[in-house]
Chain length 246, copies 2
DNA sequence: TTTCAAAAGTGATTTTTATAACAATTTGAA
DNA sequence: TTCAAATTGTTATAAAAATCACTTTTGAAA
């Protein structure tokens, strides 16, 4: 445990586990086994245990994991015990859809300020109570409030220039909805949300199936699949995006 | 070439290459080398050549790749030479942001119909000319028009039941914005667009850095990095989501 | 108590993916 | 016509990640 390099996929899975743990907690479930939780997350139970083992030992052999405590542990690992303040750049349709959504605040993310370039937007009060500010104020606000996270939802051609400003102002993580890869220095992380690429992978698979060029379907159930009423789905955590990090 | 199992990450990268090829074509660039294109996509040039080699030989040694022809080839591989009709389920903020966006039609995706449950939405004319239809019509429309792709943007609690209807009606690929994993039978593909998970990976990394628990930074430039004016970013294609497929 | 079944933790193994290295081509200039 | 530079295609190697299989621990029932 510890020291070892932790796979990026592990972090993603932790986030998925966390979500199910929240649900279990809400349902009053006290204890959960690796198989149960892994099944919910559609991963191999050994994988789940391995994922956790990078960080310590949190279960009780023969028993399972305490839901509340594991949830707390994972939240801590992900850095989610504190509130995170976020700036939104680009108050277009995507940006506004995000602002409205309760999922973020539930997870501890708070939109602290919203910026746009368009004169027609600036000063407008948005649903949810945010007022759009001029992009010129961005560096000041970030620096003064020590904000570390940004959501980038400007037109893609603007992505790099805004990213440069964000980095310059001290932002450490960018959730990028734009369809261009951006370059950031080491120490700043970027995650891409790229719908069209995901659609393309769907069309690829459908085309494959249609042309009879099927994937070698391993029709055997995975050993760890439990009996249940719906079709068994092969666990399949896939690379699903491209991320520039440094 | 061929036969071999093709990594999911390869398909994602093809989509990224395709995007840059489009841009090159628009700029009148006729020929591109693996290093140039790979650099744009932030991957290793050997990786790019390997990716292409799964499907055939498309370049000219000593010269490079013909932009127009490679673009066409990749589009063909991804199944993007034809138009794809898509149904949207859930005309909330996310759904509407998608409808409005020109990126999709540019890539050959056409929203063929929009469905919602809410009486207040049904019948409404949305920006872009779509009329919201009652969810009850969904199976009929999908079957009659032979639609294979769906975008799922309903409240997450509804995700599974709607997915079941989609599958039952003949949908082969689902782009899922909901925050629950859905189960689908073999032969149907699902891709998840899950913003909060991506934010969580950002907070994880930032927390790591803040606690001094830094990643072992390999400060050496990758060999294939070219000289240029911005900071060199280590290529880093990461697992970036969780996808259930079958 | 003792025994058994359940289930975590983890080293060993397998599988998958990425990178490197180099032979084979091609072009163009000497 | 020959040589050198550029650049692909591909095999070999390395790295990373997932899975297996076994050991240990626990709790509860006999
Ligand atoms: N908007 C975000 O920032 C965000 C972030 C994370 C996740 N998501 C997820 O994306 C999905 C959509 O987000 P949103 O903000 O547009 O959601 P929303 O809940 O505001 O809107 C969903 C729409 O679906 C419709 N609907 C409800 N039940 C339906 C049914 N049975 N059949 C058809 N339509 C139905 C509703 O009438 C509404 O118009 C949600 O699952 C949400 O959790 C959104
Ligand atoms: N909406 C989608 O379905 C979708 C799909 C794929 C990709 N994207 C990408 O997501 C991003 C945002 O999408 P959208 O539909 O909200 O975009 P949009 O272009 O409609 O809105 C972007 C907003 O950014 C503002 N803006 C422009 N220049 C700015 C600047 N220099 N500084 C600050 N603000 C600026 C604009 O005024 C506008 O309000 C785009 O990059 C788009 O390519 C969106």
């Amino acid at each position: 445990m510890r020291k070892e390099k932790i796979p990026a996929a592990t972090i993603i899975r932790l986030s998925v586990y966390q979500r199910y743990l929240k649900r279990l907690l809400a349902n009053g479930v006290k204890v959960v086994s690796s198989s149960e939780l892994a099944y919910e997350a559609s991963v191999n139970p050994a994988q789940l245990r391995k994922d956790l083992s990078y960080f310590g030992r949190f279960g009780v052999r023969g028993v399972g994991y305490d839901v509340a405590s594991l949830l707390n542990t994972i939240s801590g690992i992900l850095g989610l015990l504190d509130e995170w303040r976020v700036v939104l750049v680009g108050a277009g349709p995507i940006g506004q859809a995000l602002l409205r959504h309760p999922q973020f605040s539930r997870q501890g993310y708070v939109f602290e300020a919203v910026f746009d370039f368009d004169e027609n937007h600036i000063g407008k009060q948005l649903e949810g109570g945010h007022t759009v500010r001029a992009i010129e104020d961005l560096p000041k606000v970030i620096k003064e409030r020590g904000i570390q996270l940004a959501v980038l939802a400007v037109p893609s051609e603007r992505a790099q220039e805004i990213a440069d400003v964000l980095v310059e102002s001290g932002i450490k993580g960018i959730l990028n909805f734009c369809t261009t890869r951006i370059r950031v220095p080491r120490g700043v992380s970027v995650q891409y949300v790229d719908f069209t690429i995901l659609l393309d992978t769907l069309t690829y698979k459908i085309s494959q199936n249609n042309t009879g060029n099927k994937e070698p379907v391993s029709s055997a159930k995975p050993k760890w699949a439990r009996e249940h009423s719906w079709p068994v789905v092969q666990s399949n955590i896939q690379r699903q995006g491209v991320s520039l990090t440094s």
